[in-house]
């Protein structure tokens, strides 16, 4: 694989992702509005009923809005990853995935480039949300916006790799309703995005254990700590390990010798 060829392909894939995203205005709009609706309605309701003790990385009592914003940023990455995964299944059904997979570059590289491009395209929206959240008095240190960048990239890659894995085993777009109900929603709700672990433990130790093992919780905590200039080593290790496992599993799904197409064929 020649470096200049690989870079041009990455540039092409990134450009395509950007153009597609910019032209799908309804998707852009809903991606931005979704976390704001949560912040405005959900957080306002919970603020009055949910007390928060001092929970790291916060060094004092914080408003519920402050607690929930990193979780909502992670939620944006999760939904973006799933939208990207859905787009891959759509591309496969419509045939345009074939164009990518028959490019003269290693398949792992093409899929990694697509994954990276998807994360890069999703990040500006997350930053926009984090800045808009300042109007809700969620004001992390300015340097936190810089420190959170690698945390957002890593979390986005991990969730994107999970989406890639889902797309590699999903045969039809219709299956995505099931994915949303049985994977995405449990992943989001059984995590530390909305409540701290100790709150979940009060509801039930099983739920707290699930949340503690949920890789989405690690993504949330990595973002939360980075935003307040702290480094959560365990969360980072979990996110990196899950990224590697999900990506390798997705590669098996897209492998020309063992993957879905090889077993079931394309259109005949």
């Amino acid at each position: 694989m020649k470096t200049h060829h690989a870079l041009r392909a990455l540039h092409g894939i990134l450009q395509r992702e950007m153009l597609r995203t910019l032209r799908q205005r309804a998707r852009l709009f809903s991606a931005m509005v979704r976390p704001l609706v949560w912040l405005t309605i959900f957080a306002a309701g919970f603020r009055s009923v949910l007390g928060l003790s001092i929970t790291p990385p916060y060094q004092t009592y914080v408003l519920y809005e402050v607690y929930v914003v990193p979780g909502l940023a992670a939620m944006m990455l999760l939904f973006h990853a799933m939208a990207s995964s859905l787009a891959m299944v759509y591309d496969r059904e419509m045939g345009s995935m074939r164009l990518l997979l028959t490019a003269p570059l290693p398949r792992w590289y093409l899929l990694a480039a697509r994954l990276l491009a998807s994360v890069i395209v999703g990040l500006p929206l997350v930053y926009l949300f984090l800045f808009v959240a300042r109007f809700w008095d969620v004001r992390p240190p300015i340097l936190g916006y810089v420190a959170v960048f690698p945390a957002l990239v890593l979390s986005g890659l991990m969730l994107g790799a999970f989406g890639l894995l889902v797309s590699s085993i999903s045969t039809q777009m219709e299956n995505f309703a099931g994915v949303m109900n049985f994977v995405i929603f449990p992943m989001f709700f059984a995590s530390t995005a909305l409540y701290p672990i100790w709150r979940l433990a009060e509801a039930g130790p099983v739920l707290a254990t699930i949340a503690a093992w949920n890789p989405f919780s690690s993504a949330v905590e990595l973002i939360r700590f980075a935003l307040y200039l702290r480094f959560d080593v365990v969360s980072m290790l979990v996110v990196v390990a899950c990224l590697v496992v999900f990506f390798l599993a997705a590669m098996v799904g897209y492998d020309p010798g063992r993957g879905l197409w090889s077993r079931r064929g394309g259109e005949g």
Binding site: M1, K2, H4, H5, A6, R8, A9, H11, G12, I13, Q15, R16, L19, R20, R23, Q24, M94, G95, S96, R98, L99, L100, L101, T102, A103, P104, L105, P106, L110, P256, G257, G259, W261, S262, R263, R264, G265, G266, E267, G268
Partner: protein
Amino acid sequence: MNALSVEDLGHSFGNRRVLQGVSFAVAEGRMCILLGRNGAGKTTLFSLITGLYHARAGSVHVFGQAMEANPSAALAQMGIVFQLPTLDLDLTVGENLRYHAALHGLPTDLSKERSREELSRLGVLDRIDHPARALSGGQRRRVEIARALMHGPRLLLLDEPTAGLDVPGRRALERHVRELCRERGIAVVWATHFLEEVGADDDIVVLHQGRVRWAGRADRISPELGVESIAEAFASLTGSP
């Protein structure tokens, strides 16, 4: 050297065997018509030739490069037009071509120049800034052929490229591809079930129920089988009326 060599290729999906012992070769600069009814295995064969998935048995070589061992080198020589339209409908025609060029490592300037050149040759240059969604079926096919030629392939594969086109559209497309074959010396594999798309000077491979029933020059098939026409020969090879 052959542009394409397919040797003893076999594939199955679960217990369903779709290709068995498929062998044929396409010489440089030749037009090869892959003839078969729907379900004969043409699309699966295309998927194996293009490396979308690996065959359970046999091998594919493109200009001497083994698809399984060195897919990038083999794919770099190939231009592909799939049976399903693969244009990105959210992008313009020019953006679709430049995306393909980037995947093949072409620099931006060359990519812009080539896209104008190829679209002009296929008579759709005026559509370069139009969204792919706005094109007719025939225009989309021509754009797909232009895109497949962007990186200067030496082997062009077309899987039922005239499906869904009206008769004048089919004739025009066939004429364009024959010109390419003649003028640029590109080897072409054209899969179809329309017998009228076979030219007397073409090579043909008749595929039926996953096996090659006959392969050779089109003008040899009727005398060899002792029938009057290609249509009769095809009918006798595929056991159809």
